[in-house]
């Protein structure tokens, strides 16, 4: 296209029928007085409505990270394997054999609460685009879900909708959902969390970036047409001047996984050519964030002709086009003269593609619509130099009280206690959820949902990739710093249980309103905890996402810094599983109990007490345990490895017995265990960290104990696999139940509670 002649900002006319932008309208767009003044300052005039919309989008918390930036700087983000840290669409780490892993996690909390199916589905769609935008083929997803109490209003249908949404999108794309977490807590009754993780792989040298360069290079638009999807500001701002708009409700974004699937294939095919300079998906704030961010990264200007943008319905205003969040759209910068070469690929796949603008030297953005200039602005002040705040922080006033050591009721009947815990949706099997996810497509899944970490083989290599997602919001609420550390430590532990060495972390930091100093304090402490732990384990944070303002009527969610960690297994030998596999195996407990109950499921789910200090996290001890597990597993000496987390030793043993139940395997009838420990019945439910269960053939026991000693990890042989019952002889009382019964309770609890 021929670039329209530049016009001086002073003369930029507001498009017809648009309201004059006032400070009031700016405030309705979420700009503070100072921010509006700042906008007027660098614009040197009153903004057009489109310019206001663009500014409100780019300066939103979501795009600008203005409240969180200062703290995120604390994360360790570099390391020998890191090829791309935070700042791109996703992070990139080297996983050997010339391959890299590209991964990221993102939240879609609010949309999922409004319309659970589409909200969750488009959340998955968004994170997948972040991955293939980098030139990687997505091979796995995980989902971390936080729901309210089942009896809270709409909760059952929210759960059903979210799970169907995640399943439908991933299943249709043919990308396995191999893991995740699900929790239920009153703190999420009015703000559920849907965090979606995706991982892709690519050849080391085939990574693509979203850094625009080369004045005169055309900007291409590919994928779905633009409609009025997800424009919230739009209707609000329009009503005042457009009778038509009264009818236009802010419309829910609807995902089309089929279009995303062909968009994925088309993008990967187009990327084989050398014509692509930069490529970026359209996520939140659609065209605006994608094009401005690309230009900002390349410190270059651009001109955009909105009349060229494919529309789903006629009559969209420039404002609406710039803010539309229609799904399954990409923006590409292509070498001048090679548009057709790229366009042909998209058309082959049945996708629309259009040249909508071009890069220009300088540092300004010009957006034209219907022969008028709808926006003409400098790019840096809206992006790199967007407002950053160091807001006040304050330790929650009630924290000291909540951290006081609670009265811990004794366990009368350990069997009944275990059964009661297994019957809670919190600890029951999540099979009802992950059955609805295709977790075997792409034929890489060695270990799918249900274990400690998922394991994928890396085709064409002897290696495997492991991944897990962890956080305990109750711990975080009682001590966000410890909670942050614990999330990282548990992730490392889960990876170690499949013999994987951690290579990178992505996070999704879900918190309340950062303008509340107590919430921001939680955020800062959690980030410090995560940073501290990542430094200790030498695992870099390579990407992530912040979701703030998860608050309703002044009530914030529990601090929920979800940590997703990826690990590498150099040689996929015989893999251990989390459940018992062979009668006669010796069971060894690694790590020492310290009778810790603060924030435990025992207190919370059975006694309604959410109080005390969460379990201490000894990072050095965790590192030793992880090394031991990796060494033991590498020698393929281990049949079973399962870490202790919520519910402590009793829960871990129960899970290891139940896991093999059913199917045609040896555990079909239920493979029990006889355990003898020098612990009180109560201690069986202590949540002391840094512990794991391992089961090995008798002949391998000695080697395991020697490895434990060498690594300085306390190890105790506690019993043997066999029989059809789980029997734990503790001080003064014995826990005894048939595996069949435990399985029945554990596997039916969630569907029963949901009533589906």
């Amino acid at each position: 296209m021929t670039p329209p002649s530049p016009v001086s900002p002073k003369t930029a006319p507001p498009a017809a029928a648009e309201p004059v932008v006032t400070e009031q309208l700016a405030r309705e767009h979420g700009l503070t007085g100072e921010e509006f003044a700042r906008l007027l300052g660098f614009l040197g005039r009153n903004p057009t409505l489109t310019e206001l919309g663009i500014t409100s989008a780019l300066w939103s918390e979501h795009c600008s990270y203005k409240s969180s930036k200062v703290y995120l700087r604390e994360f360790p983000t570099s390391g020998p394997r890191v090829l791309q840290g935070p700042g791109e669409n996703a992070g990139v780490v080297d996983i050997g054999h010339g391959w890299v892993a590209v991964f990221k996690m993102e939240s879609h909390n609010h949309p999922s609460f409004i319309e659970p199916f589409q909200g969750a589905a488009t959340g998955v769609g968004g994170i997948l685009r972040d991955i293939f935008t980098m030139g990687a083929r997505p091979i796995a997803c995980m989902d971390s879900l936080s729901f309210g109490e089942l009896d809270a209003p709409r909760m059952r249908s929210l759960i059903d909708g979210v799970v169907r949404g995640i399943g439908t999108y991933g299943n249709c794309m043919g990308i396995p959902t191999v893991g995740g977490e699900t929790r239920f807590h009153a703190g999420y009754n009015q703000n559920i969390l849907v965090n979606a993780f995706a991982l892709g792989v690519a050849r080391r040298e085939r990574i693509f970036k979203a850094k625009a360069s080369g004045p005169g290079n055309p900007i291409l638009y590919a994928g779905s047409r633009t409609g009025r999807d997800g424009i919230h500001g739009a209707s609000m701002a329009s009503e005042s001047f457009d009778a038509e708009s009264q009818k236009k409700k802010p419309t829910v974004q609807v995902g089309d996984p089929f279009v995303e699937k062909i968009l994925l294939e088309a993008c990967l095919e187009a990327m084989r050519s050398t014509a692509i300079v930069a490529i970026q998906d359209m996520g939140a704030a659609g065209l605006t964030s994608s094009i401005f961010e690309m230009a900002a990264r390349g410190q270059i200007g651009f001109v955009l002709d909105l009349d060229k943008v494919p529309l789903r319905e006629p009559g969209l205003s420039a404002y609406e086009m710039m803010l539309s969040e229609s799904q399954e759209r990409m923006v590409l910068v292509v070498k001048r003269g090679r548009e057709e070469e790229i366009a042909r690929v998209y058309r082959k796949w049945g996708l629309e593609v259009a040249t909508v603008g071009e890069l220009r030297s300088g540092s300004r953005a010009e957006i034209r619509h219907r022969g008028k200039v709808a926006a003409e602005m400098p790019i840096a002040p809206l992006t790199d130099d967007a407002p950053v705040y160091e807001r006040p922080v304050a330790m929650p006033a009630d924290l000291a009280r909540r951290q006081q050591a609670p009265e811990v009721p004794e366990v009368q009947n350990p069997t009944a206690t275990l059964e009661a815990l297994l019957a809670t949706p919190e600890l029951a099997s999540k099979e009802w959820i992950w059955r609805q996810y295709d977790h075997t497509v792409r034929t890489n899944t060695v270990i799918g949902p249900g274990g400690d970490a998922a394991v994928l083989r890396l085709k064409g290599t002897p290696s495997g990739l492991a991944m897990t997602s962890d956080v305990n919001p109750v711990y975080c609420g009682l001590d966000p710093r410890r909670g942050g550390m614990q999330a990282v430590a548990e992730a490392v532990r889960n990876l170690a249980c499949v013999g994987a060495e951690p290579v990178g972390v992505t996070d999704c930091l879900n918190f309340g309103n950062p303008e509340n100093p107590e919430i921001l304090w939680q955020f800062r402490e959690a980030v410090r905890g995560i940073s501290e732990a990542c430094r200790a384990f030498e695992v870099p944070v390579i990407s992530g996402n912040v979701s703030l303002y998860n608050e309703t009527e002044g009530r914030s969610i529990p601090p929920t810094p979800t940590v997703a960690m990826v690990g590498v297994i150099d040689n996929l030998g015989e893999m251990p599983v989390a459940h018992f596999r062979k009668a006669g195996d010796r069971i060894v407990l690694l790590g020492k109990d310290r009778a810790e109950f603060g924030g435990s499921v025992y207190l919370r789910l059975l006694h309604g007490i959410e109080q005390g200090m969460p379990p201490a996290v000894d990072l050095a001890a965790e590192a030793r345990l992880a090394r031991l597990l990796r060494q033991a597993i590498a020698g393929s000496a281990v049949h079973t490895a399962h870490d202790l987390s919520e519910g402590g030793l009793a829960l871990a043993l129960a899970e290891s017995c139940i896991g093999g139940f059913g199917g045609g395997n040896e555990g079909a009838a239920g493979l029990g265990a006889r355990i003898e420990v020098d612990l009180t019945p109560l201690d069986l439910f202590s949540e002391t960290q840094g512990r794991a269960l391992v089961a090995v053939a008798p002949a391998r026991l000695e080697r395991l104990m020697r490895l434990a000693e060498e690594n300085g990890v306390p190890a105790l042989e506690v019993g043997e696999v066999g029989g059809t019952d789980l029997v734990i002889a503790a001080d003064g009382a014995t826990l005894s139940a048939s595996v069949a019964r435990l399985h029945e309770i554990w596997s039916t609890a969630l569907p029963k509670a949901l009533g589906f």
């Binding site: 299943n171 794309m173 699937k261 034929t443 045609g664």
Partner: protein, 236 residues
């Protein structure tokens, strides 16, 4: 043997089938784009799983009308082997190359899990590497795998021995509890009367390698591409 994996927009098990044929069984394999009007001289055609054209109307409905299916039809008419897996099975029924229809699972939910299949006949090339009555463990992953047809037609299928795989308990007994999608007569896979067009909902390509902990699916491909491995003395 030259194998062709048909690629519809929205197919997503195409790579998986290609991988098994090419890298596990070392066959000559090509992809056949949905707009192709020839089969590029392929001897064996596989319609892989996925969500062809989004499967918005009914699984396989739109794919059944694509140009390449005309050639597949002719190939089948000449007795050429055609295997439809999951969505591929749906395409074959929608194209009327196989009888019946696959409707939403009984529970109205997508089901991803291992199932146990009983080999009802091993006198087909497809099943010639299995024992008669052998129980296989194969994963399913579908929302519309509930096989339906009229009672009379089902009787005909039985009479013609067109039912090749049934969902059973690990013990090998037909048991409704192990028929997760509610298929009539526990039907997991059927063949046409001529015996050269097979469709099944479970995914043999997902359990054809040791590293995945299950090789039960490999035989289905071997039966066709490695005749040498066919069981001698199989009831044929």
């Amino acid at each position: 043997m030259k194998c062709g994996v048909v690629l519809f927009p929205g197919s997503n098990c195409d790579h998986d089938v290609y991988h098994v044929l090419k890298h596990v069984l070392e066959q000559d394999v090509v992809y056949l784009w949905h707009e192709e009007t020839t089969l590029k001289g392929c001897d064996f055609i596989v319609l892989p799983g996925g969500w062809s054209y989004g499967d918005y109307l009914r699984g396989g409905a739109m794919a059944a009308l694509s140009p390449v299916m005309q050639s597949v039809r002719e190939h089948a008419a000449k007795g050429g082997p055609v295997l439809g897996i999951c969505n591929g099975f749906q395409v074959l029924t929608e194209a009327r190359l196989l009888p019946g229809a696959l409707r939403r699972n009984r529970g109205l939910k997508f089901e991803c899990r291992d199932t146990y299949l009983r080999v009802e006949r091993n006198d087909l090339d497809f099943t010639s590497c299995y024992r008669q009555g052998q129980v296989l463990r194969l994963p399913i992953a579908h929302g519309e795998g509930n096989y339906e047809h009229f009672p009379g037609e089902l009787d005909r299928l039985e009479a013609n021995r067109q039912i090749v795989f049934r969902y059973v308990a690990p013990s090998g007994e037909v048991d409704d509890a192990w028929n997760f999608n509610g298929s009539a007569r526990a039907i997991a896979g059927i063949v046409n009367e001529a015996g050269n067009v097979l469709g099944l909902m479970p995914h043999p390509e997902r359990c054809a390698e040791e590293v995945l902990g299950n090789m039960d699916g490999l035989g289905l491909f071997q039966g066709l591409v490695q005749p040498a491995l066919r069981l001698v003395g199989a009831a044929r």
